[in-house]
């Protein structure tokens, strides 16, 4: 999308993302302690250190895919022996790092002093970060988050908290910096207030026609990944929510003749956002919500915000570790999806079966059956890969999406 066609929030997003990557490289060059993290490592803790920057390889990989260089980076990893069956985020990141950041829109990521992965979204992040750990000779801290089939248990929460303390100690030891609790608490306040605005932004999907598309939310989640804990994070989501509110009031909708309200399950296909969005809009269809973006700032089993109460930051951060879809079971996923379907008035669900994210996808066949049998919601399963365009077939996907719209029509006519 050209700058001229972007909304104010869209332009602001481009600006702050560019600044964030420039700042990351600049501060790393000036001697800041650099940490690479998995997306749901509690980034707010890092603001407790005076001179530390963090980079998020998953987000960087998504950006590469969104900018059209995902396959190029994947091929680099494949040439050095990494199987095409591995997660495309990992292949992009490994390929990009092996080639010194070439072809990356942000010139890659600065070399880390510490790698912090976790296994709540997937254990493969640990295996992926192990690749860097060995190739670069950098220490690797692993956060172990127990999977949950029901609400997170106290024993698991305490276990996670203990690891967070160990993480702080590890960084103190490696960086020589002292951790400041007040600064970490303040960072968590920024995140919390930013998420309030994020939820306000998402809530405009309830309007008929919807004030947003899920594609907007996919693009706009980038600050959540790389800028949590900052005033810019809060300010950006306030701008986004305010602007969306004004557009809804003014009757300015992304799909004005909206006839089909759809819901998306899985990670965004970063290489197809614009194409998929515009093609669906031409058919009067709008994917107005997604599990991927709705789970931000929640706890497992619900898409409602789980606010920070201002007390112990460790407890809050540990409590929200299972909120992303992958770290909890099918029963909890169903509960949250059902809530979203009913709240948003969803007509159909698109289950994106994602070869690059098996933990997200492996329950989808049963999930699809449940939604059909218990809620009577039509749905389709489409094959995607979140960052490797070579594994995507537009024809096949749109044939299925058209079939979904026909199913919805048939249900309405019945």
């Amino acid at each position: 999308m050209s700058e001229a066609n972007k909304t104010d929030a869209g332009r602001h997003l481009s600006k702050i993302m560019q600044n964030a990557y420039m700042d990351l490289h600049t501060r790393a060059k000036e001697g800041a302690f650099v940490v690479w993290i998995a997306i749901n490592v509690p980034a707010e803790l890092f603001y407790g250190f005076e001179n530390l920057v963090y980079a998020v390889p998953e987000s960087h990989a998504a950006m590469n895919a969104g900018k059209g260089v995902g396959a190029v980076q994947c091929e680099k990893a494949e040439r050095i022996g990494y199987s095409m069956d591995l997660c495309s985020y990992a292949r992009i990141d490994i390929g990009c790092a092996a080639d010194g950041g070439r072809d990356s829109p942000s010139f890659g990521l600065p070399k880390p002093n510490l790698l912090v992965s976790n296994n709540n979204n997937c254990s493969l992040l640990v295996k992926w970060f192990d690749v860097h750990h060995r190739e670069m000779g950098v220490p690797h801290f692993i956060i172990d988050v127990p999977f949950c089939y029901g609400p997170q248990k106290e024993k698991d929460r305490n276990y996670i908290i203990r690891q967070f303390y160990d993480l702080i100690q590890t960084i103190e030891d490696l960086s020589g910096q002292r951790f400041d609790w007040d600064k970490a608490r303040q960072a968590l306040d920024y995140t919390n207030r930013g998420i309030v605005h994020w939820k306000r932004f998402l809530s405009h999907a309830r309007h008929r026609p919807s004030g947003i598309t899920a594609f907007d939310s996919f693009v706009q989640m980038a600050p959540f990944l790389i800028m949590r804990g900052t005033p810019e994070f809060e300010a950006h989501y306030k701008l986004l929510a305010d602007e969306t509110e004004q557009r809804v009031k003014a009757g300015d909708f992304p799909v004005p003749d909206e006839r089909y309200r759809l819901f998306w399950d899985n990670i965004a296909p970063w290489h197809q956002l614009r194409d998929m969005s515009s093609n669906l809009a031409d058919s009067g269809a709008n994917i107005i919500g997604a599990t991927y973006t709705s789970c931000i700032g929640t706890v497992e089993g619900s898409f409602d915000m789980y606010p920070y109460d201002g007390r112990d930051p460790m407890r809050y951060l540990a409590r929200t570790q299972n909120c992303y879809i992958c770290p909890h079971g099918m029963g909890l996923r169903r509960r949250a999806m059902r809530q979203a379907v009913e709240t948003l008035g969803i007509d159909g669900i698109v289950f994106a079966s994602n070869r690059s994210c098996k933990p997200y996808s492996v329950t989808q066949m049963d999930q699809q059956k449940f939604m059909s049998e218990h809620l009577g919601i039509p749905s389709v399963m489409v094959d995607v890969d979140h960052a490797d365009v070579r594994k995507y077939s537009k024809e096949s996907t749109f044939t299925r999406l058209e079939a979904l719209l026909e199913m919805i029509d048939a249900k309405r006519a019945a």
Binding site: D85, N119, T363
Partner: protein, 353 residues
């Protein structure tokens, strides 16, 4: 009988409570349909999960289980309990599920002892309540001794494979046959096998290789290796060597025993904290057995294994150990002859190196 999801369940504990634990590897052997499983799992799920689901949901094979156990062995398996429970419910069956979380933190980083201890104790309480049994430390020690004996027998059998007394196909066949049996019966199968074999030096000039992977390869593939002039002198297979290689310190206290069992376990990509020890362990295996090559039997879609292949290949190659990666997916047993040309080329390379 309690069916245990792979890979390394606490078998001794179940046995001490009078239960017969069975690790749900491919108990039906090679081949087999996955029709029921295919209704629940995408085709890019690994064959271990697909065959296990098929087994548990099929009336004739899964119906005799009194319980099912799983731990956080991998990202796919952790999603399976609800799929299995749903499938059983649809079939009008219900089997109690037990699960524990094995800490995956490196012990030098975070102390997971207390957490593991609580998990093991919770499991004992749940088993006692469900099956109306009482944990007994003497019985536990007896079970530990039984499984230690079994592991030693497997190691002896592996040594017999290395010196040519037993063929790898025969060894893998014994494993497949014994895997579903009580520990005492497994010993009863291995003991006569070991008493009958004689060292066979006629193939000692053939190039020795180690097989690495999740499951033993199909017989046709082993045959292709052997007929190409390769000699299997050891394995780094999850269902075999990785499962029986270590002998935890016997003791009456399950938490301490399983602390030793898990945290000092022979390296496996699924035990996240063991990653740094893996290369060294494989190199030591090569040195002990004189293997000149390692053949990775890639379990298609097992990303744990695949993330490590390039690094292992590089490190082993640096020590003069050649590697070959073969890939197996569901139903690939029927097509394993297709790997013949690559196996022959690899054998040729080893013989001239």
């Amino acid at each position: 009988m309690i069916g245990c999801f792979p890979l390394y369940p606490p078998l001794e504990l179940f046995h001490s409570l009078g239960l017969n634990p069975v690790v749900l590897w491919r108990l039906k052997g090679e081949g087999g349909q996955t029709g029921e499983s295919d209704r629940h799992l995408q085709n890019y799920t690994c064959s271990v999960a697909r065959h296990m689901t098929e087994f548990l949901l099929s009336e004739e094979s899964g119906a005799f289980l009194d319980g099912i156990f799983m731990y956080n062995a991998c990202d796919t398996l952790r999603n399976m309990p609800e799929i299995i429970e749903g499938g059983l419910e649809t079939a009008g069956r219900s089997v109690p599920f037990f699960n524990i979380h094995i800490p995956m933190v490196p012990p030098a980083q975070t102390d997971g002892d207390e957490y593991l201890k609580n998990e093991v104790n919770r499991l004992i309480e749940e088993l006692e309540a469900c099956f109306d049994r009482k944990f007994d430390s003497v019985a536990f020690q007896n079970s530990v001794a039984q499984f230690k004996r079994l592991r030693m027998l497997y190691l002896q059998a592996e040594a017999a494979v290395a010196n040519g007394g037993i063929g790898f196909r025969e060894f893998a066949g014994v494993f497949r046959k014994a895997a579903g049996m009580p520990v005492e019966q497994q010993q009863g199968i291995l003991e006569p096998l070991l008493s009958q074999y004689a060292e066979n030096s006629k193939n000692q000039d053939k190039a020795g290789i180690i097989l690495s992977g999740i499951l033993p390869p199909p017989d046709a593939m082993v045959e292709a290796m052997e007929s190409s002039g390769l000699r299997i002198v050891g394995n780094d297979i999850a269902a075999l060597h990785r499962s029986y290689a270590d002998m935890p310190q016997p003791g009456a206290e399950p938490a301490a025993y399983y602390r030793d069992f898990y945290f000092n376990h022979y390296p496996c990509p699924t035990l996240l904290y063991s990653g740094d020890r893996r290369v060294q362990a494989l190199l030591e295996r090569c040195q002990q057995t004189g293997a000149k090559g390692v053949v990775f039997i890639g379990e298609k879609f097992c990303e744990y294994e695949y993330f490590e292949f390039p690094y292992l290949e590089k490190k082993l190659g640096g020590q003069g150990v050649q590697t070959l990666l073969l890939e197996l997916a569901v139903d690939d047993e029927d097509h394993s002859a297709a790997h013949g040309a690559r196996i022959e080329a690899f054998a040729e390379m080893l013989s001239t190196s």
